[in-house]
């Protein structure tokens, strides 16, 4: 293995164990699986829609679920990553090993992303199996489900990196947890409510036509939702801000969800570099 891959693999394996033994991670994985099953049960009920298979309907519901749960799961794993190590004194110890700060973050990132892919994969996989059991036509929805899977990982990657940055800035696990909850509320819940209120106040004016699409793209959670909904036309009815979704090209949403993880990870590295152990 190369000089970089070896410590990343070592740190990653260790963090992976820690995450698997984390009670909160277990709870969110179970929640993910449970919700996925409930949604697919609801999705496989006869809808009356012609030409829409059970899985495509489920994917639309899973998108709405993922936009809340995936960032939450990511933040739960990441908020303690730096602050916990500062508090325990292990960060200064690890930094005296021949390991760089970005290597430390990469190790954690790889491990947390792996846990996330297991959780999301299990949840979405269950939903797919349930849909295929009731509706043989459901294979038509598999591409949409696959797209939902990898875009969920990108969304998770963004919030993992945001969690590391918050953790490094806060320095104490309690403060980091508070910040993480705040960021989750702000980006996943309040942001959309704010936009909705602005759209209503604007009444179809310049804000709605010019600013809104960019503001939606600027938020990774919205970009994720837009990408999945816009990419599968059958389900656009489920969009909260559905009207705007039509006006934004899929490519823009894709670029946003691809760039966000890189930007957030760079931010996390900068934040960790500023930590004095």
């Amino acid at each position: 293995m190369t000089a970089l891959a070896r410590p990343v693999a070592a740190l990653g394996a260790s963090e992976f164990r820690i995450a698997l033994r984390n009670r909160w991670v277990t709870i969110t994985v179970a929640m993910m699986a449970l919700f996925a099953l409930v949604l697919s049960a609801a999705g496989s009920a006869p809808t009356g829609d012609v030409g829409v298979d059970a899985l495509s309907v489920t994917v639309a519901s899973l998108t709405s679920l993922g936009v809340y749960l995936v960032p939450l799961m990511a933040l739960l794993m990441s908020f303690d990553a730096v602050a916990g190590e500062i508090e325990r004194g292990t960060l200064s110890l690890t930094l005296t090993y021949p390991v760089s700060r970005s290597t430390i973050l990469l190790g954690k990132f790889a491990a947390h992303l792996a846990v996330l892919s297991i959780a999301v994969g299990a949840g979405y996989g269950l939903a797919a199996v349930a849909a295929l059991v009731v509706d043989p036509e459901a294979t038509a929805g598999l591409p949409a489900l696959w797209r939902l899977f990898w875009s969920s990982l990108l969304l998770g990657a963004v919030f993992l990196a945001i969690g590391y940055a918050l953790s490094a800035v806060a320095r104490r696990p309690g403060a980091a947890a508070g910040l993480a909850i705040g960021v989750w509320l702000a980006l996943v819940v309040l942001y959309d409510l704010g936009l909705l209120a602005a759209v209503v106040a604007d009444g179809g004016g310049a804000f709605t036509t010019h600013a809104l699409p960019w503001l939606l793209l600027a938020n990774p959670a919205d970009a994720f939702r837009l990408y999945n909904l816009a990419a599968s036309e059958a389900t656009s009815a489920a969009a909260g801000l559905g009207g705007a979704a039509q006006t934004i090209p899929v490519l823009h949403a894709l670029i946003s969800i691809l760039l966000w993880p890189l930007a957030a990870f760079a931010l996390a590295v900068v934040a960790l570099r500023r930590v004095t152990p």
Partner: protein, 297 residues
């Protein structure tokens, strides 16, 4: 060549001086104890040596290289103060990780844990360990890769007396193989027999840097003589020797280092009245207060 050389190392935090022109060296095979009150600057000095924080001014050379450089990191082991490893990992998993980070064979983990007496508990989660056991995990990781310099921040705090003795036995072995050891401590008596040299820091300033014997000579603190008199003879012994009487049988004297033999001669002259004599040299605590207060007066 010295393993560690510090010259005029100064560190200020927002105008507060944590270290003030500290200079000393540690040679290969030497065990140096860094003593000082809380806040004296011991941990700060160690973090500078490790390259974790920069010095405000001054020069530090670690194994011939700059602090935090590849050479310095490869050859230096550190045990931070009050380190707490992740409670969800087992001792074995934790040490395997540190072995991998040094590019060493993870299969050595069990040997290292055996060496610090954790073989039995290796497969248990660190969350179930006592403070002393966690400290041993820290020591085990410090032994990885035959370090040429060990920087140990209060390594024996929380250890029971037997564990402390084991701990120093391991350090003795490392020093015998040529490793330089810098350790900070509060427990003065344990440092006494187990280190070659003592550095005393007080409010960031180096107050002393010498062997224990030399510090004793320089401080010239009074030696105490405890004399046990025969029953009923305590008053007479006290009068003859111009000493203070502590109780019915004991008479206490103090004398300078150079007067010691003369005073013992005086005591020997009264041998019919005397049961026993005990010579008590200045304790390390006395020395420590002498050197760490000298400046404040």
């Amino acid at each position: 060549m010295n393993s560690l050389t510090l010259s005029q190392v100064t560190k200020t935090y927002d105008g507060v001086t944590a270290l003030d022109a500290v200079a000393f060296t540690v040679a290969p095979g030497e065990r140096v104890a860094l003593l000082g009150h809380n806040g004296a600057g011991k941990s700060t000095l160690m973090k500078i040596i490790l390259g974790l924080i920069p010095a405000t001014s001054g020069q530090v050379t670690v194994l011939g290289a700059a602090p935090g450089s590849q050479t310095a990191r490869d050859g230096t082991a550190y045990l931070p103060e009050n380190v707490a490893f992740h409670p969800a990992l087992t001792g074995l998993e934790q040490i395997r990780l540190y072995l991998r980070l040094r590019g060493d064979d993870p299969a050595r983990a069990m040997d290292l844990l055996d060496r610090v007496g954790l073989g039995q508990a290796a497969r248990r989660r660190i969350g179930t360990y006592s403070k002393g056991m966690r400290q041993r995990v820290g020591l085990a990781q410090a032994l990885i890769g035959n370090p040429r310099l060990l920087v140990l921040d209060e390594p024996t705090s929380g250890l029971d007396p037997v564990s402390r003795r084991d701990f120093y036995t391991i350090l003795d072995g490392l020093a015998a193989e040529g490793a330089a050891i810098l350790l900070s401590s509060h427990a003065l008596t344990e440092v006494e027999a187990r280190t070659d040299r003592i550095v005393i820091l007080s409010q960031g300033r180096l107050m002393a840097n010498d062997t224990l014997a030399a510090l004793r000579r320089r401080a010239a603190l009074p030696i105490r003589l405890h004399i046990a008199a025969r029953p009923g003879a305590a008053d007479e012994v006290a009068a003859q020797l111009a000493g203070g009487r502590r109780n019915g049988v004991m008479v206490d004297l103090t004398c300078g280092h150079d007067d010691k033999l003369a005073r013992l001669g005086d005591i020997a002259a009264l041998k019919g009245l005397i049961e026993d004599v005990e010579i008590i040299p200045p304790s390390l605590e006395d020395l420590y207060s002498h050197f760490s207060r000298r400046d404040g007066q």
